[in-house]
Assembly symmetry: none
Homo-oligomer: 224 residues x 2
DNA sequence: CCTATTCTTTCAAATTTCTTACAAATCTAT
DNA sequence: ATAGATTTGTAAGAAATTTGAAAGAATAGG
């Protein structure tokens, strides 16, 4: 999961980054509204943590700007105490949650998880795909209680495909969300194909996986 | 992708054209509001870059004209600094993004990409055509839960026809939008006919498709 | 420093896309 | 109505693209 932290106070921003990284998120920072707008326009984030007290612009513009369909990020507003009407306006504009300063990092994590569950339909509980059970919390995949040992990227890949089930994901989308980078022009490597192949190989030792489909010319899709 | 650049300052317009062509876009220019309106009425553009400082009319009128659902172009407003309320009015009227003069061409490209990503990913929901269900996000076509296996171009073709349903699309329009190239003069190949035939053949294995019509002398149309 | 993971490179296999040639259908002008 | 012209449909196969697979190099993490 990709997170953009929009917060002008560097020390707080850094603190959040360190924490979220330890939680397994990919983080980027923006310290001004202009920077944030540009980054959001270019990258596909899953979350945007937005401090409304930016010096150069009204943070609410940023939400208003980018109303994407399906792949829009989840906005979580960070407010100082007392900016209540901003909070309300933010929620009206389509922010998904807010959190008031000062906050505990664990609370932030909890809210992000809750928002993610609603917004991206990330199942809180385990999920059945084919004959497999995916445990998102413990990052385990099992087949009749036998664990399928996937590496980190392999699990991330499967995880992201399952969350976006019944959607074709391009290699670029997978790359941007799981690796958290923009894919440069003309970059041709088939490492995503390789990971897919490895996931399939490991899963196929237990059962066939026709639900992990190749959509030729586009990307991959999990259907169920 | 087709772009109409509506900008009265010729040197800037030309500069944009040269750049966008190098990025693989097909460009046309309009230097007056009247010209722009006419061109938009006739052609199917993917993007319209609209300078609000036109001499002969309020650029915002151009956006306001009613457009067919699905086939409307993405409007990106070009404003001079300080025309903030125009920007706001533009976004209210349905513009998809704005960019303030002076801007870097790379930023324009980034915004067009971002807008394109969300705009042309097509309806979030599935759609019924005849006895078939088209799932756009999944790029699947089904008939009573049986999947009709279409290749990429076949799906793109059906997709574009369905989005522009009740409109006749010429082979040139289909080619320019789906293949993203200008069709050279006197280029005669019937590969679009061939793809249409293949789509029909695959669909007809499940049910007849009188709704995928040939408009003799013009092109093809999906009516429903 | 060692090991597991991730990425790159290479090539074969599978599939799609486009071209070509011709048949069938439709239109136009006598 | 019919011949000729134009347009569309069909088939087969060549060319191009895309994916799968294997092996090994680079990298990261303990």
């Amino acid at each position: 999961m990709n997170v953009l932290i929009v917060e002008d106070e560097k020390s707080l921003s850094d603190e959040i980054v360190v924490f979220l990284k330890s939680e397994g998120y990919l983080c980027e920072q923006a310290f001004t509204g202009a920077d944030a707008s540009e980054k959001i326009a270019i990258n596909l984030y899953d979350f945007v943590l937005l401090d409304l007290g930016l010096p150069d612009c009204d943070g609410l513009d940023i939400i208003n700007n980018d109303r994407a369909w399906g792949s829009e990020p989840a906005f979580i507003i960070i407010t100082a105490r007392g900016e209540v009407q901003d909070k309300v306006k933010g929620l009206d504009l389509g922010a998904d949650d807010y959190i008031a300063k000062p906050f505990a990092l664990t609370e932030l994590a909890a809210r992000m998880q809750a928002v993610g569950r609603r917004k991206f339909k990330i199942p809180g509980q385990d999920m059945n795909v084919g004959e497999f059970v995916i445990e998102f919390q413990s990052r385990k995949v099992t087949h009749n209680d036998n664990e399928v040992l996937l590496t980190r990227k392999e699990f991330d890949l499967l995880n992201y495909l399952v969350i976006n089930r019944n959607k074709v994901l391009t290699r670029q989308q997978l790359y941007e969300h799981i690796w958290g980078n923009i894919l440069e022009d003309q970059y041709d490597s088939n490492f995503i194909d390789v990971h897919i192949k490895n996931v399939r190989r490991k899963l196929n030792e237990f059962a066939s996986t026709p639900w992990l489909e190749t959509v030729r010319g586009i990307g991959y899709r999990v259907s169920f």
